[in-house]
C-alpha cells in the first residue's frame, strides 16, 4: 500500500478516527479548531493596530505580549504560537518573511496571501528587501533603516505600522478599515485615503 496514492478524503477520515481513538483530539475539538482558523482574518490584526493607535496602554501591551493583546479583543490564541509585534517608527521599518517555509501569524491575520508563500518573495525579501518594497510602491524615507524579520522558529510576527497623516479625529473603526494585511507584513504602509 502506498499512502501517497490513497484517496485523501478517506485518509483524513481514518486519521481523525485514530486521533479520537487515541484521545489526542476529539471530532469536536478538530471542528472547533477549523472554525477558528477559518474565522481568522486581517480584520483581527487591523482592530489591534487601530486600538494601539488610540490607546497608549494597549500599545504597550501589544508590544510586550502580542498574544494577550489579541485575546483582549476576543481573538482566540489558545494553542497558538507566541505573537511578537514589531513597531514601525520614523527610524525603523520592519518587513516579515519566512524564508524556510510560510510561518505566518494566522491567529491575527488569517491565511497567508499567496505571494507570502512564493519562492520569489521568500528569497528576495532577504536579498533585496528595498527592491521588493519599491515594487509594492513603498518608498522609505532616506533616514529609515529597514529591518527584515525572518520568521524561522516558534514565534509569529506582525508589524504595528505607523498611523498615517490625515487620520486625525478618526474613530477606531474607521482607522481599522484602512489597515491592510500588507501593512501588517510590512510590504506596504497604511494610506489615509
Amino acid at each position: 500500500m502506498n499512502i501517497a496514492e490513497l484517496d485523501s478524503d478517506a485518509l483524513l477520515i481514518a486519521l481523525r478516527r485514530v486521533l479520537a481513538a487515541k484521545g489526542i483530539a476529539s471530532e469536536e475539538e478538530i471542528t472547533e479548531r477549523i472554525a477558528i482558523t477559518d474565522a481568522a482574518s486581517p480584520a483581527g490584526g487591523a482592530r489591534m493596530v487601530a486600538k494601539a493607535w488610540m490607546d497608549e496602554d494597549y500599545r504597550e501591551l501589544m508590544l510586550t505580549d502580542g498574544a494577550r493583546a489579541a485575546e483582549t479583543l476576543g481573538i482566540p490564541m489558545r494553542g497558538m504560537p507566541p505573537l511578537g509585534v514589531l513597531e514601525n517608527t520614523t527610524e525603523v521599518h520592519h518587513l516579515v518573511v519566512c524564508t524556510l517555509c510560510s510561518c505566518y501569524p494566522r491567529a491575527v491575520l488569517g491565511y497567508p496571501p499567496f505571494w507570502f508563500k512564493s519562492v520569489s518573495y521568500r528569497a528576495r525579501a532577504v536579498r533585496d528587501p528595498r527592491g521588493v518594497l519599491l515594487e509594492w510602491g513603498t518608498d522609505l524615507p532616506e533616514q529609515v533603516t529597514l529591518r527584515v524579520v525572518d520568521s524561522t522558529a516558534d514565534y509569529r510576527w506582525m508589524v504595528l505600522p505607523m498611523r498615517p497623516d490625515g487620520t486625525e479625529g478618526w474613530s477606531e473603526e474607521r482607522l481599522a478599515s484602512i489597515i491592510r494585511e500588507g501593512d501588517m507584513i510590512g510590504v506596504t504602509v497604511p494610506q489615509a485615503g
Binding site: 507566541p82 511578537g84 524564508t99 524556510l100 532577504v126 536579498r127 533585496d128 528587501p129 528595498r130 533603516t145 529597514l146 529591518r147 527584515v148 524579520v149 525572518d150 520568521s151 524561522t152 522558529a153 516558534d154 514565534y155
Partner: protein, 93 residues
C-alpha cells in the same frame, strides 16, 4: 544563557549533507557573525520534533545580522533578525 548584546557566530554546520534532517537555521547565516538581541523563551527542539523523537527544550534567541555582510549591495544600516536555537550559536568566550 546568552546575554543580550553578546556577539555570536552561527555554527558553520551543514547537517543536510549527512542525511535526513529538519533545520530551522537558514543557510545564509551559517558561519556568520551576529548579535543576540534577546532570549525569546525555551521551545522543544524542532530538529527532533520533526521526526517524532523526544525533544529537549532549548533556548531560542532573536539574533541580529547586518545585511551588508551577507549580500552585495544594500545599506550598511539595514539588518535582519532571525530566531536561532542556542546549540547553533558559538560565543568566543
Amino acid at each position: 544563557m546568552i546575554a543580550p548584546g553578546t556577539q555570536v557566530r552561527v555554527r558553520d554546520d551543514w547537517p543536510e549533507t549527512r542525511g535526513p534532517c529538519h533545520i530551522r537555521t537558514p543557510h545564509y547565516v551559517r558561519g556568520e557573525i551576529g548579535t543576540v538581541l534577546r532570549h525569546l523563551g525555551d521551545y522543544p527542539n524542532p530538529e527532533d520534533l520533526a521526526f517524532g523523537r523526544p525533544a529537549q527544550r532549548l533556548p531560542l534567541y532573536h539574533v541580529q545580522f547586518k545585511r551588508y555582510g551577507l549580500w552585495d549591495g544594500g545599506r550598511a544600516d539595514d539588518d535582519i533578525l532571525i530566531e536561532i536555537f542556542g546549540p547553533w550559536l558559538e560565543t568566543s568566550s
